[in-house]
Amino acid sequence: MSIISFKQVHYTYPGDELESLCGADLEIEEGEFVAVLGHNGSGKSTLAKHMNAILIPDEGKVVVDGIDSSEEDKAFEIRRRVGMVFQNPDNQIVANVVEDDVAFAPENLGVPSEEIRARVDAALQQVGMYEYRTHAPHLLSGGQKQRVAIAGVIAMQPKIIVLDEPTAMLDPQGREEVLSTVTKLCREKGMTVVFITHHMDECIGADKLVIMSNGYIKAVGTPADIFSDVEMMAREGLAVPETTKLIYELNSVGFSLPLGELDEESCAAVIAAAMKK
């Protein structure tokens, strides 16, 4: 059974005329790294906010780990299973000291103090911020702040982490820090990760890629399959990796190479093999 399932979810923000989600269907399996790609206003954040019951569908339903999000008294149960990291690191850090911030969620859950201490230390070590535990968050870099925010969510021990454009305000180095931290959490700790972004290159390593546009889920599949559909990506105004673009251009002048090669080496190997023929 999938850990998050969307069934024909419709949602309109109060006061808006246009629907922000128009019948979204999506299944997310346990332990998967799911990337969601789309432009601003494509409904990515709306999708994310349905995953921890901050928004409740107008129509259709969202089931998280067997709990229907429309049951009002279960919102708490859903939120402790789904950790959420937001775009602006400054607006989600609640304390003046890194470790106090990480302790916020377990404190809210009523975890005994010795266990909070253990969880906080473990979470900070997992994101590589343990040495900064007594620092003031506002003196950290963007990437470090965002890793503290991730630690704050891990300390809750959720099954799923949803990251809503966590890299949008970061420099390239900070983006790399955040992406490698969550990738490690997914691959080594088996955590389910939903990573929302508008940077195509952050989606390449995902198990599943979801393309969103104007409130619709346009495509779901492996990154290789999705990026291979260069025409669809162009229609949505989204970039494809340079490798895919190169092979696509070569194919349009007569080659017939597989489009699914995303990393540079395998792309080079495919082209080299074709040249030898």
């Binding site: 402790r80 602006n88 607006n91 609640v94 003046n96 916020f104 809210n108 009523g110």
Partner: protein
């Protein structure tokens, strides 16, 4: 320039002053202020000054940091001193001038009183993290919950406000630069003109503060915040032997000051 604000600043450390329970430090500061206002004569002022200096040494807070914090208060201190110097009746220092010996004594005492008052509160905030301070305050005030005073809500608002001071200062700096780049002038003109020039800073600042508050609320809810019920703490406050000792010393100090006042020293 805005970076100089030391309000709510905390210097991490591991001295006895840092390790004292925030509740006892809060009570001690009340005792200290009460004692300070008992001071009438030079001996009692000397005693308070000595105690304050001792506290500074114990907590490893350098006078430099205290002076930095005092800077914004210089005007008020100077004004109080001048008023006391000129408006106290007594023997004139220079015949024909309104300054008196009594006024001089009073103004020195006034300066001492204000400086010591501020130094005492600085010692509290410099050695206590804002979280510990608000936690301590919440626990001290928790009896008021019985009469439906929203103590938890008040203290969490206080700690959020303290948390966002540096963020909002940074934001103000940014907005000021942005408005200056558009040709705004904050430094010249009459007072009313300068006050009007602040409007293009305040409006965006408020808008962004509200947006931040909104996002913060969602982020807090996402981390299962649901008010003070059933909340636990990572750092549990312990009232140790040193806290009782410190409180006893504080009471003794206050008693001593009251005795000194009795004798008019």
């Amino acid at each position: 320039m805005l970076k100089d604000i030391t309000l709510g600043q905390y210097f991490p450390g591991n001295t006895i002053a840092h390790r004292l329970d925030p509740r006892s430090k809060l009570i001690l500061i009340v005792l200290y202020i009460a004692a300070l206002f008992q001071a009438t004569g030079w001996i009692s002022y000397a005693l308070v000054t000595a105690v304050t200096a001792l506290c500074m040494i114990v907590s490893h807070i350098s006078p430099k940091n205290i002076f930095k914090g005092l800077k914004p208060m210089l005007f008020i201190i100077a004004l109080t001193a001048l008023l006391n110097l000129f408006y106290t009746a007594g023997r004139p220092i220079v015949p024909g001038w309104p300054m008196t010996w009594e006024g001089l004594a009073r103004s020195v005492q006034m300066i001492l009183r204000i400086v010591l008052l501020i130094t005492g509160t600085f010692l509290l905030t410099y050695t206590t993290s804002p979280i510990a301070l608000t936690d301590g305050l919440e626990l001290l005030l928790s009896p008021l919950k019985k009469i439906k005073v929203p103590v938890h809500e008040m203290t969490i608002m206080m700690s959020m406000a303290l948390r966002f001071i540096p963020t909002l200062i940074e934001e103000t700096d940014k907005i000021m630069s942005a408005q200056k780049a558009r040709g705004a002038d904050f430094e010249t003109g009459r007072l009313t003109e300068r006050a009007k020039a602040l409007l293009p800073i305040l409006v965006p600042l408020f808008v962004s503060a509200f947006r931040r508050a909104d996002e913060l609320a969602v982020a807090m809810e996402s981390r299962c915040y649901h008010g003070g019920d059933g909340r636990t703490r990572m750092k549990v406050l312990h009232f140790a032997a040193r806290d009782w000792a410190a409180l006893a010393l504080g009471l003794l100090f206050l008693a001593g000051m009251i005795v000194l006042k009795r004798f008019g020293l």
